[in-house]
Amino acid sequence: MKRRSLIKAFTLSASIAAMGLSWSIQAAETIKVGILHSLSGTMAISETSLKDMALMTIEQINAKGGVNGKMLEAVVVDPASNWPLFAEKSRQLLTQDKVAVVFGCWTSVSRKSVLPVFEELNGLLFYPVQYEGEEMSPNVFYTGAAPNQQAIPAVEYLMSEEGGAAKRYFLLGTDYVYPRTTNKILRAFLHSKGVADKDIEEVYTPFGHSDYQTIVANIKKFSAGGKTAVISTVNGDSNVPFYKELANQGLKATDVPVVAFSVGEEELRGIDAKPLVGHLAAWNYFESVENPVNTQFVSDWKAYAKAKNLPGADKAVTNDPMEATYVGIHMWAQAVEKAKSTDVDKVREALAGQSFKAPSGFTLTMDKTNHHLHKPVMIGEIQDDGQFNVVWETESPVRAQPWSPFIPGNDKRPDYAVKGN
């Protein structure tokens, strides 16, 4: 009995080893590209689709003949939503696999955990998610939104007539750095617009908080004091119970609109959107925007999902971070073409001012100095089909302010990337 099981075990490990080898044996002249997204653990819910998007983009680039005549080879690793593992994996990608660039990370903490590694080994990271700013590393390019490219316009919209002219603001977030920084900036901004502290309520919930009864009750109470809007930085998983509670307690968007910064098409797949019609989200891209580039982008993605029969391929959707990933990879490719090399310093040079016609319908440019994209800001209303109806958007892309002017001390910060800030 024991013996047999052992033999099994050995054969198993043998086959594993074989597979492992077959992995590393690959085409000779390729450019290796690291993909660092959690495929297991709590963050898998958001990050897996980014991994797939990255793979699709790389496939497309290869189909067009690769970069500088070389094929791109994706090296996918699973940091398993474990922050130290992020650091370890990035070091491995850079030193063992010698990748030219890494596309990855979702949470701020994962980015902060890999940052020292990239700065030490002078690697290159493309970070595709909206985040709190307060960072500008020469080794990172931020293709997601900075607060001024998402949060502030959203609040301005809520203040406007169309937005319902909200007088009171309920800032609800999960207790981590992105919501706290964002809310800090928003509070300062609201003050500047003459909103008093008694009209601002700030509430944080722990990670994976799933019981929003009390909080929704508080929102109701608060909203009795005047036209109220909820600004939600609630993190991924907790959104479903939050919105379900909202709907069931009969809090409609017409009474109290909720504008969310981390709820996109992907998240809405997990919710019955009918009761949420009218609630808002602020992003730099929505699947519903109508322009040829996006139509192509969306259909490519749906086709890819079918072809690779990804789970839930039949209702595959695109969202903002996916677009950011897509844009990031293309920009990097363009930069490599321009620099005629994958050398990090040369590519960094080439990336400054690089521009790309994005699915959002705008031509996005990488800022010359601050490593962030100029992005348009769009505000979408949730529709019953889980898509967003864009009710407002900027005319042209907005330049990012990673160092928000609303946070004291930032005025002294340099507007160009320096290590370890």
């Binding site: 009995m1 024991k2 099981s5 052992l6 075990a9 594993i16 597979m19 492992g20 992995w23 495929l39 297991s40 090296v75 996918v76 690793v77 699973d78 940091p79 398993a80 474990n82 922050w83 130290p84 593992l85 650091a87 370890e88 994996k89 070091r91 491995q92 030193t95 063992q96 949470t107 701020s108 903490v109 902060k112 955990s113 940052l115 020292p116 590694v117 030490e120 307060e134 207790d175 981590y176 750095v177 706290r180 920084t181 800090k184 944080y204 722990p206 990670f207 946070i407 004291p408 001390g409 370890g420």
Partner: protein, 359 residues
């Protein structure tokens, strides 16, 4: 259950082979950091990646050993050792943050717009005090918790669940930004330790050697305990607590001693872990991690000294290889591994090796 300590001790010390292997491994561990100092590109040069990876695993190995002292020997399965590990790590992290921040406040505090350090950060800029904290924080917590738990004879599953609740509470507490430990982000972006560049090969090598030293020390302690009457009392305690009491021994003291000792070892391991991996945050306290630690011990073989080390090495080695080789499927292998081991290797790998040896 598993063998009495003397027997295992004999079995381990007995065969020359295992001694030889041990010696070789030790030599390798000492050689590794030295090789890492070689100029890059040298054929024998050990990459920083390998060094930090092995260093990390060694820290885990210490945790496994510490856990085995309480589980394998005293029969108390703790599902909360991650907490002690993390506390030690945080204590060291506080020092590193202060070192990085210089005279100004650590970054995350300025972002919370705090004007001065909370009281419990006092003195953390001194390495010595940080070291004391590394020992005191886990030690005291273990002392208080253990005192109450053992006083009311909580053991078995109840003890496990309570320790789990404890570490869970700790995690929630440290997630809060107001708690003053950087919330979800924890501590990261360290610069230097005692003035030495933390990313320099030299520092890495030293930290690695220290880890090896701590591992050896804890092995020695475990060995001494196993040999002493104390160890035999623990075994007796594990198997027939009542009898022991009617022999006139007070189990509480014995449990408490080994419990606190184990916690302190974890703390030290954590303190060495943080500068090597470069981040500490509350997820280290998540119950999952503690359960995994238990798995290392079970896999290696509880009630033995080498077992936990093997277990920690195997599981983590596989983990960091699987996660690259087949990112989507590694959890299957890991899960299957746990099941197979518990079903077919109740005494863990060591038990298996022994069987081989006896045949």
């Amino acid at each position: 259950m598993n063998q009495p300590l003397l027997v295992t001790a004999a079995q381990k010390a007995g065969p020359r082979l295992s001694l030889a292997i041990g010696a070789i491994v030790l030599l390798l561990l000492i050689a590794l950091p030295l090789l890492s100092l070689l100029p890059a590109g040298h054929s024998l040069q050990v990459s920083a990646y390998t060094l930090t990876l092995v260093g990390k695993i060694l820290c885990y190995a210490i945790v496994a050993l510490a856990l085995d002292l309480v589980w394998g020997y005293a029969g108390l399965l703790s599902l909360g050792h991650g907490l002690f590990f993390a506390l030690g790590g945080y204590a060291m992290g506080m020092y590193l943050m202060r070192e990085a921040a210089g005279d100004s406040l650590p970054a995350f505090m300025t972002f919370l717009s705090w004007s001065e350090l909370p009281w419990y950060w006092a003195g953390t800029q001194h390495f010595a005090w940080a070291l004391c904290l590394v020992v005191l924080a886990p030690g005291l917590l273990a002392l208080v918790f253990g005192y109450f738990a053992f006083r009311s004879r909580i053991k078995g599953v109840y003890f496990s669940i309570m320790t789990q609740a404890l570490t869970f509470a700790g995690m929630l507490l440290f997630f809060r930004n107001e708690t003053g430990f950087g919330g979800n982000n924890g501590f990261t972006n360290f610069r230097s330790i005692l003035g030495f560049e933390i990313t320099s090969q030299g520092t890495r090598a030293v930290l690695f050697l220290l880890t090896v030293a701590l591992l050896l020390a804890s092995l020695l302690i475990g060995w001494r305990l196993a040999r002493s009457k104390f160890g035999r009392v623990l075994t007796a305690l594990r198997d027939a607590e009542n009898r022991l009491m009617f022999c006139g021994y007070d189990p509480r003291g014995f449990k408490l001693f080994v419990w606190v000792l184990s916690a302190v070892l974890c703390g030290l391991a954590g303190a060495l872990y943080v500068p090597q991996v470069g981040i500490i945050n509350p997820s280290e306290m998540s119950p999952t991690n503690s359960i995994e630690a238990a798995v290392w011990v079970a896999l290696g073989g509880r009630g033995t000294l080498i077992g936990p080390l093997l277990g920690a090495g195997l599981v983590n080695g596989m983990k960091s290889w699987f996660t690259v080789a087949f990112p989507e499927f590694w959890l299957f292998f890991l899960g299957a591994l746990f099941i197979l081991v518990t079903l077919y290797l109740p005494k863990g790998v060591v038990g298996l090796l022994k069987k081989r040896g006896e045949q």
